[in-house]
């Protein structure tokens, strides 16, 4: 069936790498939001998102169920983000050692991505729905189809995700007040 993830994955595996474009188009904003939430910076998120897509492309034949592409892609992005964070940490430590400074500067967390950062911390099922809905521009019906779940479940998951997000954002605000 055209336009499903599965269709494009098959096309790529059959030697039409150009069709990977449609999967990038579908999930780029989702991946950017997820990675911006994790890395706290748009440029780093773009770099990591590109890398995640490229890795996904070359590992595509190891994806057992094409329907799970979206979750699988987010998993790859998680790994890429972890590597970026680790490299960043090593770089900062080296810098600190080089400048004889005891103090290792903390990564700056842009205020702009506080929301995405909160989303990144949601349990997987909630995160996937929120990202698809608002960053992937899917309707709730489309999410139900893409993730193969009843519309009622999508609605409940979304409501629950809202509650968790509000909670998380409020806590952040409070801790910022303390910091000041």
């Amino acid at each position: 069936m055209p336009d499903t993830d599965k269709y494009y994955i098959e096309r790529c595996l059959d030697g039409h790498p150009d069709d990977f474009r449609y999967l990038v188009r579908r999930y780029q904003a989702v991946l950017l939001a997820h990675l911006a939430g994790k890395l706290g910076n748009k440029d780093k998120a773009e770099e990591a998102a590109q890398e995640s897509f490229v890795r996904a492309y070359f590992k595509m034949d190891s994806l057992k169920k094409a329907d799970l592409f979206y979750s699988w892609l987010l998993g790859i992005a998680d790994n890429v983000a972890k590597e970026h964070q680790r490299n960043e940490q090593i770089r900062r430590q080296r810098e600190a050692v080089r400048s004889f400074s005891e103090e290792v500067p903390q990564p700056e967390l842009s205020q702009d991505f506080a929301l995405e950062s909160a989303i990144a911390e949601l349990p997987q099922a909630y995160r996937e729905v929120i990202l698809l809905r608002y960053y992937g521009q899917h309707s709730c019906n489309q999410i139900a189809q893409r993730l193969d779940m009843p519309l009622g479940t999508v609605t409940k998951t979304l409501s629950r995700a809202y509650a968790m997000l509000r909670n998380s954002l409020q806590q952040r605000e409070r801790s910022e007040v303390y910091e000041v």
């Binding site: 790498p17 950017l32 070359f58 034949d61 190891s62 929120i130």
Partner: protein, 434 residues
Amino acid sequence: MNCAEYKELLVAFIEGLLDETEKHSVAEHLKSCASCRAELKEVSNLRDHLIKNGKILAQSNLEDKVLDRIIREQSVRLKTTSKIDASLNIRRIIMKSKITRIAAAAAIIITALITFYFVGNPLGATVTFADVIKPILNARTVVFDMIVGSEETGPVMHDIVVGSKIRRTFSNMDTILIIDLDNAKMLTLDPTSKTAAYIDIQGPLQEGTKNFLEFVRNIVNNLKDMPAQELGQKDIDGRKAIGFYVADKPNIELTIWADPDTAQPIRIELLMGQSLYILKNIEFDVLVDETLVSTDVPAGYTLSQKQFDMSQFTEQDFITVLRLWVEHLLGGSFPQSLSLQELMSLTPAIGEKIGQLNISDEEKTQLGITMGRGFVFFQQLGPNGVDWHYAGSGVKLGETNKAVFWYRPKDSAPYRVIYGDLSVKDVAPNDLPK
């Protein structure tokens, strides 16, 4: 419903997911409940925030950047043997794609043409074995098997020649080639995928290849006045035959075995440099179904829209052949020797390797064509030991100071020397490796 239950429904309410009754009920409740209105405002604010951020990030476009990186990564993988093996998992590409098979075929296509490619006139003057050579000079159709290299190991090509058209099939691959030398056009047929493709062979390739019969005639014409040595009688392929041997040493040696009663040649051996060509099971002027050499696409075949152009070839094409061969088939070591026989034998393996590479059909086709051009480049260099020399035995890919191959371009004083890292330099004849 109490307030807590209403609050549960607010996300669904603003997302428009409630049915009419529920929607009405929530709306009514909101009119009278300040706490739930406050909650609704917060939920709406969060939703607005999500929508706004979503729209901002949706403006980014990574498509071209990602595809660029994939292409770059692929070419890196192409250059790295170990990674190639890892990427071979995408094997389905090879099995499914028709175009890929044609791309692989493109690599072997050129072996159809290179065999009799040589420039100029390698033979000198005079002597007569006119009876033996008469059919060669006058026949309109010829059917024969041709072997490049040793009879035991060399791949066999079966040719049906009608005038300037050749139908060529191979013992080591199932591609059919129909070559129209007059029109510089070649039709390739892949019986497995039922795919056909036309290939342009204009330019130096057509010039050098000429008409096949013309080639044989040229050789024979040049030999007819040379002192031929009679080799007496012996059995050739179960038939009694009489032999003649003519040589223009060091580069050309020709042996013809012919039926002593009819004077029809049944076997021709031609040694050019270190390349041996054997024509056997030769039959002249047999009745041939001319549709066999038709360059029209046969019924049931799909014509590939891809344009193949074999009219140009360069040193770089040859280097690509070396790289693919050494990296992907020999694990990084240069071959013990380099000859047309070896190149022909490994063609299907190289074609298959190209098919397995994790690159697009387009790139495979391009690579196949490059391979073909590389073969032509090698073949047109002329006899081994005269215009080119191979010294790659024992050399590993990447060894910068070991010369593996050198040749003298036409009308050039310095030689071109290719090193173990596949770099190339101009070197004066006196400075060549010994």
